[in-house]
């Protein structure tokens, strides 16, 4: 069997009238929500240490000591679950020539004039940016986070290194929060996207509008016999 170019082997057209397309299966959705929940908990606990005006957020975790203890542990959960997701998603997030055309017409993207944009595979350049941005920042956060993890790694790095690590961690945290806001915003603004992560399917129209090459490939695969 030839590996599909624009889709995952498991992606398929579930029904034809109306068209619904399976985009994510159960495991990856469950794992995505583990990642999402950990990121939110990390953001809330981390921000509590970040600025005195947000210190009250430690109350959500049962106080400063527990928030301090929990934050890096959730960080490890985030890292593991994201790495699993990374293995599943990286291939279709590699850049393609279409991404350049898409980025050149970013004005049409923002205005929602999708008819002017090139046909795309499973991910557009914005989604790929979020994917690679998250990847890079999570790696930076886990590395710098371990260097400042007093409870278990207090002796790991020298104090001058630790100063750079905590600064890096704080800057990377701000950056990942911005990427996270963009991610959530885009998922809401592009109506019909959220169900990909709740029910696992999207409508044919959604796939046709935003990821036509992906849909086209799935349709072709369906006609030439099931890929399974």
């Amino acid at each position: 069997m030839v590996r599909p170019v624009y889709s995952e082997p498991g992606d398929r057209i579930e029904s034809t009238r109306p068209v619904t397309v399976s985009r994510y299966r159960g495991f990856i959705r469950a794992n995505h929500w583990v990642t999402a929940l950990s990121l939110i908990l990390l953001l809330l606990s981390g921000l509590a240490f970040f600025h005195p005006s947000l210190y009250f957020l430690t109350g959500l975790f049962g106080g400063g000591q527990t928030a301090r203890w929990l934050h890096p542990i959730i960080g490890v959960v985030l890292f593991v679950s994201f790495m699993v997701m990374f293995i599943q998603l990286w291939r279709l997030n590699l850049p393609t020539p279409d991404d350049k055309a898409w980025l050149n017409q970013i004005g049409d993207v923002v205005k929602g004039n999708e008819e002017n944009l090139p046909e795309l595979g499973k991910y557009n350049a914005g989604q790929k940016f979020i994917f690679w941005g998250m990847t890079l920042l999570i790696v930076v956060l886990i590395v710098s986070g371990i260097m400042i993890w007093e409870q278990f790694f207090g002796e790991l790095v020298s104090i001058p290194t630790r100063r750079w690590a905590v600064l890096t961690h704080a800057l990377a945290a701000v950056a990942i929060i911005l990427v996270f806001i963009l991610h959530v915003y885009a998922a809401f603004w592009t109506r019909g996207t959220l169900r990909a992560m709740t029910r696992g399917t999207v409508t044919g129209g959604w796939a046709y509008r935003h990821h036509r090459k992906w849909l086209r490939e799935l349709a072709g695969r369906r006609q030439n016999g099931p890929a399974e």
Partner: protein, 327 residues
């Protein structure tokens, strides 16, 4: 409780027998970690200081014992590995430590045994307090004492990151940070620090900062008259001066005294982390979050229309080819 304690001017006096009320009050605090706009006290306590005259120290560690005794800490018994330091480093249970250096003076070719009492310097500009994220975990009193308030400490270790002298230590037992208190609980009742009181050679003395500077100057004069021409005071200006300070016989090279920093200051990395990173970071995150929310509510959403659903059906039933051709 009849009387309030006087401000102590020496460590030598003995305590009165009758109970006296504390004279180092929560209202005497001038800085509090992670707290802006601390109400300034109506009274200013006399600035105090502990002077450590390195040239007089005989390395007996009576101060270490007195500190353990007074603070009721129980440093672990360690193995002798052939060095004089005991324990090997400051710990959550050992707030002060004699550090020993065998230094060959290149000018005289003499071996000099340098002994420095290490511990919190009680900086006028304390890096630990600036770095601490927990409101009220570190305070500075108007007499200059920097004190850790353990019930507010969360054990994050940021004070370790912030301190230019590598002083605070986080306990593995209760996950709170510990260091020398300058015996704030003794000073509060008119007594000087336990270590100063125990010192048999008066290498450690305590009093008002003014008196201690005057005394230190006399000591420097004396050392100079005896051939230590670089003798001087170590009261580093980079941290605004300190309330524990040294007389050094080689004040031109502090780092020979077991890495005493030559020119300590709060690291610019720490200043940048706690300064512009926080204000700018909070601002961009706030703008992004509010902007996204407002835009999400008011902007035209990117919606799929009926026509596109129909086109999808056509595309799927044609097996992926349409007017634009197959993939």
């Amino acid at each position: 409780m009849s009387e309030t304690a006087p401000q102590p001017k020496t460590a030598a006096s003995n305590p009165p027998v009758q109970p006296i009320a504390s004279n180092l009050l929560p209202s005497d605090v001038v800085r509090i970690s992670a707290t802006k706009d601390v109400p300034q006290p109506d009274r200013q306590l006399t600035k105090v200081a502990k002077l450590i005259d390195v040239s007089k120290c005989i390395g007996c560690k009576a101060c270490q014992s007195a500190c353990i005794e007074w603070n009721d800490t129980k440093p672990e018994v360690e193995t002798n590995v052939g060095v004089y330091e005991n324990p090997h480093d400051l710990t959550p249970n050992m707030f002060t430590l004699m550090r020993f250096t065998e230094w060959v003076n290149p000018e005289t070719d003499n071996l000099e045994w340098l002994i420095r009492k290490d511990g919190c310097m009680h900086c006028e500009d304390p890096g630990c307090l600036k770095a601490c994220p927990a409101p009220g975990a570190i305070v500075q009193y108007s007499n200059g004492i920097v004190d850790f308030i353990h019930e507010n400490c969360i054990g994050c270790g940021y004070c370790v990151t912030g301190c230019p002298f590598d002083i605070p230590r986080i306990s593995k037992v209760d996950h709170k940070s510990y260091k020398c208190t300058l015996c704030s609980d003794r000073v509060a009742v008119g007594q000087g620090p336990a270590c100063a009181k125990a010192c048999p050679t008066q290498a450690i003395v305590f009093g008002t900062k003014e008196d201690m500077i005057a005394h230190a100057n006399e000591r420097v004069e004396d050392l100079k008259s005896r051939g230590y021409e670089n003798a001087g005071i170590y009261d580093p200006a980079g941290v605004g001066g300190t309330h524990v300070f040294y007389v050094l016989h080689h004040a031109d090279k502090p780092s020979i005294y077991e890495k005493l920093p030559d020119d300590p200051r709060i690291s610019p990395v720490v200043e940048g982390w706690k300064g512009v990173t926080k204000t700018a970071g909070l601002a961009v995150m706030g703008v992004a979050a509010v902007g996204a929310a407002i835009h999400g509510i008011f902007a035209r959403a990117n919606k799929v229309d009926e026509h596109e659903e129909k086109e999808a059906e056509k595309l799927v039933s044609s097996g992926g080819s349409d007017d634009r051709g197959a993939v």
